[in-house]
């Protein structure tokens, strides 16, 4: 019967009552599901953790799909309306996505740019200070002296290796300080 008149008056699709009722029941079930999920999460017996938002949004998306497809009849509609609908959603997603890129990474790039100026300079100063304190200790404690009596017989042989690290450290410091 519906099909006869379908042809008759130029393609207006008459809603199928069964589909409408099923859609509504589906929407009710999803609503109950999302509410129970939320309560379960608050009461603690449903630990979703970081999935909480995606799950809620997923259920909402499923509900929106049901409404758009069967109540708004996009399922049987021509493509143009669907294009407009999906297009608007795409633009909202772009809106959210790019704003998120801004807020999510705000400060990240600034810091990487600022690092050579502030932090590395500070690290250089710290390294210089550390070097100086280490130098004092190198002068005070002759490190090689303990091994000397056993391995080598001569005392003066210990003096050159002691002086060597001091000489090495000093030139290494200077270019860093001048920079």
């Amino acid at each position: 019967m519906a099909h006869d008149s379908h042809g008759d008056h130029g393609g207006h699709h008459v809603f199928d009552s069964k589909i409408l009722i099923r859609t509504f029941v589906g929407l009710l079930v999803l609503t109950v599901l999302t509410v129970v999920t939320a309560f379960g999460e608050r009461a603690g017996w449903l630990p979703l953790g970081p999935l909480s938002v995606p799950v809620a949004l997923g259920i909402a998306g499923a509900k929106a799909f049901l409404v758009a497809a069967f109540f708004m009849d996009l399922w049987h509609d021509r493509g143009t309306n669907l294009l407009v609908f999906v297009g608007s959603i795409v633009f909202v997603v772009i809106f959210i996505g790019i704003t998120w890129l801004d807020f999510g990474y705000r400060g990240t790039f600034e810091e990487s740019v600022r690092e050579p100026l502030d932090i590395i300079q500070e690290q250089q100063l710290e390294a210089e200070a550390a070097n100086e304190s280490v130098l004092e200790r190198f002068e005070a404690i002759p490190l090689v002296e303990e091994a000397d009596p056993v391995l080598f017989g001569t005392e003066p042989a210990a003096a050159p290796p002691e002086a060597a690290p001091v000489d090495d450290a000093a030139p290494a410091d200077e270019p860093a300080a001048t920079n």
Binding site: H9, F15, L20, A64, F71, N81, V84, S88, V92, I96
Partner: protein, 299 residues
Amino acid sequence: MATPTVTVDDPHVAEHGGAHGDGHHGAELAKGYDGNMYPSRKQFFFHSSEQQFEASKLGMWLFLATEILLFGGMFVAYGIFRALYPEVWEAASLQLDTLLGAANTVVLLLSSLTMVWAIRGIQMDNRKVLIGNLLATIFLASAFLVVKYFEYELKFHYGIFPGSNFELAEDTQTVSELSGVPALEPIVVVEGHAGDAGHSEEAAAGDGYAEAALSEEEIAKQEIFHERRAGIFFAIYYMMTGIHAIHILIGIVAIGILAWKAWKGAYSSVWYTPVENVGLYWHIVDIIWIFVFPLMYLI
């Protein structure tokens, strides 16, 4: 196209059409679902009634796209501030009554069903079904607004306002606590809130000022929840639900006009474009609520 259009009184119409320049008042008839002839209301610049219907619907969809983008902006604001202050968001979200929100969701879904059922009615030339379901939709929409009113009322009672006085007194129970669900700390009035000195009409605010000497620890605890950030949540809450409620109001008016015109016999299975378009509008309002509900009340 295949639509069997019959022209009433052919030569007369030809004259008439030339004189008035519009074919608006149903000179053309077309066979409806029930076999009777109804005015097609086809404008002369459309190829067919079908094309006219689809064009009108596409225009409506373009409008709906702007609606989606309008609410999209608010969703973006919601998302950003949620990402910035997640714990404040979760705490503030518990101030909303989940069950009332869920009840409103069901009411709105049901109203969507009655709306589409009204369209189905007129598609089958059943004017009683059309008018009955339109009135049912108006009733459900009004019920939604009444529930919304009580929600707002409850929040005003707690001292949560769209403006600056969003904080609660310290011992105020949250709605979630009242319904037996463990909740986070209530949002409290913080002392030393400079702007509130002039707004001391609230009892809640008065309680807040009594506690002049707070320990460092208490202040630190309050820092998490109060700030002005919970105010951001409620500002967005009031803005989104408020604009949504305005859409519901506009929908009620539009559906009321539909019901009135339907009662006067304006629509038939041949021409029911306004019913279809208002229906689309109503469903998009429903879809927006479908997203507002979990974001505000659940997570």
